[in-house]
């Protein structure tokens, strides 16, 4: 970067990252957002809280996750790809980092219950897991469409003692699950924390979730140095709301690395969207001529979201990060490629980032470049869906 701006700092006092972010919620939820902001700031500057958070991540969530050089893929593509292995974290994705933090915060605020939205089910499973560990009651809202394509995750949540509520309004996917969780939060805000799953929603969520995911970036920056890479040329992550991307970008925002977010083509908010207000935030959204939010479409439930976190909208606007769409058609190929060459079955979400790297190697990514891939999750949850797509079973 030629200018001296530092990126990925705290938002301003109104929760803005440039023109994006803020707090667009019904008055009923404003006090809870204000309370949460104070509680988060207080906890995040309390060494005892940070110590507890790090201890749980180490002893329970399996951190630090390794960085794996992807040797055969690198050889095939003529670049050097390193994978940050969030698939090896407990529950199989990066989502655990955020929920460990938020559930500890829930207890600290004296609340006894959490609610969450989920798309692919990963955030729901992670929330149910972290809630079980602390004895918090847990209810997860999930679009009815997603309860079908991710039925095993529904059962996992139930095994973990959570209640899963299928959401039948609107497009019956992630955005509607967020609406329903917000509506529910209005009725129970005094004893319940809304454990939002990505860097979206009203302030302080986008900032808080990024902070709770920034461990991905900090670990990988250290681990790459150990592998002899001072600064990678590219850092690549898939983007639904943008939490795994924000987490890994955090470690490299003020380096020379090019930051790449990969969105599902059917939910490419940066490329096809315009500024708008949804789910408590001003960000980039896919919307109609009259400001109706359009339904996203993706092979992966976790990227099926018509918006993007406000900090990403800002990073795109400021030219610090780049966001590209990847269509469903190349995602399965990427999933198979990584499985066969590296012995890692990635989540369908993650496969979008793999597909972008595969497509752009030798093009946007010059030969010989070093590329850090955030391997945000494992593909076990998607195996049944992939089988039916590949074999028609």
């Amino acid at each position: 970067m030629t200018d001296a701006k530092t990126f990925m700092q705290a938002p301003d006092e109104r929760g803005r990252f440039g023109e994006f972010g803020g707090r667009f919620v019904p008055e009923a939820l404003m006090p809870a957002c204000l309370e949460l902001e104070i509680a988060f700031k207080d906890a995040w500057s309390d060494p005892a809280f940070i110590e507890e958070y790090n201890t749980v991540l180490r002893q329970f969530a399996g951190r630090p996750t390794p960085v794996t050089p992807l040797l055969r893929l690198s050889e095939k593509l003529g670049i050097n790809v390193y994978a940050k292995r969030e698939d090896l974290a407990h529950t199989g994705s990066h989502k655990i980092n955020n929920v460990v933090g938020q559930t500890l915060l829930t207890k600290r605020m004296g609340k006894t219950r959490v609610i969450a939205e989920t798309g692919a089910g990963q955030h729901g499973v992670a929330t149910a897991t972290a809630a079980a560990r602390l004895g918090l009651e847990c209810t997860v809202y999930m679009g009815e469409v997603d309860t079908v394509r991710q039925s095993l995750n529904v059962f996992r949540m139930e095994l973990l003692g959570a209640t899963v509520v299928p959401v039948t309004s609107g497009s019956k996917t992630l955005k509607d699950a967020v609406n329903e969780a917000m509506r529910e939060w209005v009725t129970c805000v005094s004893d319940t924390h809304y454990c939002l799953g990505s860097v979206m929603g009203p302030h302080p969520f986008p900032w808080m979730v990024r902070e709770m995911q920034s461990i991905i970036g900090h670990e990988s920056s250290r681990q790459l140095i150990e592998l002899g890479v001072a600064t990678p040329d590219f850092v690549v992550a898939c983007v639904g709301g943008g939490s795994n991307a924000a987490g890994i970008f955090s470690g490299f925002a003020n380096t020379s690395a090019r930051l790449i977010g990969v969105e599902a083509a059917g939910g490419a908010a940066v490329k096809n969207g315009s500024p708008g207000v949804l789910h408590g935030m001003r960000s980039m959204l896919i919307q109609s001529e009259f400001g109706q939010i359009e339904e996203a479409h993706s092979i992966s439930a976790g990227l099926d979201y018509p918006g993007i976190g406000p900090e990403h909208a800002y990073l795109a606007d400021a030219g610090r990060a780049e966001y590209y769409p990847i269509g469903d058609e190349v995602v399965l190929d990427a999933l198979q490629l990584l499985s066969e060459l590296e012995g890692i079955i990635p989540a369908l979400e993650t496969a979008h980032a793999v597909a972008w790297i595969t497509r752009e190697a030798g093009k946007t990514i010059p030969k010989g470049s070093s590329v850090l891939l955030n391997l945000s999750g494992r593909g076990d949850k998607d195996v049944a869906q992939v089988r039916s797509l590949l074999r028609g079973e």
Binding site: R14, P26, M182, V277
Partner: protein, 255 residues
């Protein structure tokens, strides 16, 4: 003082409790006749809902009405064109989510609304903290801004919201989204919070579905807002006659 507030203060000064029904614009082709029927039966102002795809503050009834209306092709332009057909002598107030106006353009929205006879706006997801730019423009157009105060609002915020409200202040009777409810609610506490900050007319809404509930609420506030119960009737196909009957039952209860 914005014209809406002058009119609503006059209603209160006359000793009358205000009755404010909510309609979803564009729900049926003849929706404007439904508004007229309600006014004929004694509504003192009417809330005109503009449908939004993601109504975060609304329960299932208004969600369904919004989707039905959107499926009919309703948008801000078509609503404003329809509004030209309404001839009533009570104020019209719009209620919708901020993205509708954000996307259409703030100044363009406010110009269009006021040109179409809208005198006030309730935008539940436009928090006090985010309302500055909208407020500034609406001041030069005589559009009144109405804020909600919730049971979770503390006294300090309630005061600020009451003072920022124009026309009336919306007392949310309970911690809930729009829809049915049977509990007693917290209207008394909310109204007291508003009155500590301002003598603006204060109307109670959210979850008021029966004449009995309206009667109780009208003893606490200066008026009542009735939404989902009426919208349910309309979804079930009620015509002007049914609507007059419904409004009359509420009118009798609060008079």
């Amino acid at each position: 003082m914005k014209p809406l507030e002058t009119k609503l203060r006059a209603v209160r000064d006359s000793g009358r409790k205000a009755l404010v029904p909510y309609f979803m614009a564009g729900l049926t082709p003849d929706w404007t006749q439904h508004v007229e029927a309600a006014v004929h039966a004694g509504a003192d102002a009417v809330e005109i809902g503009i449908p939004f795809s993601d109504p975060m503050m609304d329960g299932v009834v208004i969600q369904e009405a919004a989707l039905t209306s959107l499926a009919r092709g309703t948008n801000l332009d078509s609503i404003c064109a329809d509004l030209a057909k309404i001839s009533v002598d009570v104020p019209l107030i719009t209620m919708t989510y901020f993205n509708i106006f954000h996307h259409y353009g703030l100044e363009r929205s406010i110009g269009k609304l006021t040109e179409s006879g809208i005198e006030g706006a309730i935008v539940p997801d436009l928090s006090l903290e985010e309302s500055g730019p909208w407020h500034e423009i609406s001041n030069s157009y005589d559009l009144a801004n109405i804020f909600l105060v919730a049971p979770s609002t503390n006294t300090e915020r309630a005061k600020l919201l009451a003072q920022a409200s124009e026309g009336f202040c919306y007392a949310s009777a309970r911690m809930a989204v729009t829809g049915k409810s049977s509990d007693e609610g917290d209207a008394a506490q909310v109204v007291a919070g508003i009155r500590a900050g301002s003598d603006i007319p204060t109307y109670v809404g959210i979850g008021i579905t029966t004449p009995k509930q309206a009667k109780d609420a009208s003893k606490i506030g200066d008026g009542v807002i009735v939404g989902s119960a009426l919208v349910q009737l309309l979804i079930d196909g009620a015509g002007p006659g049914k609507i007059e009957e419904f409004i009359t039952s509420f009118r009798l209860a609060i008079d």
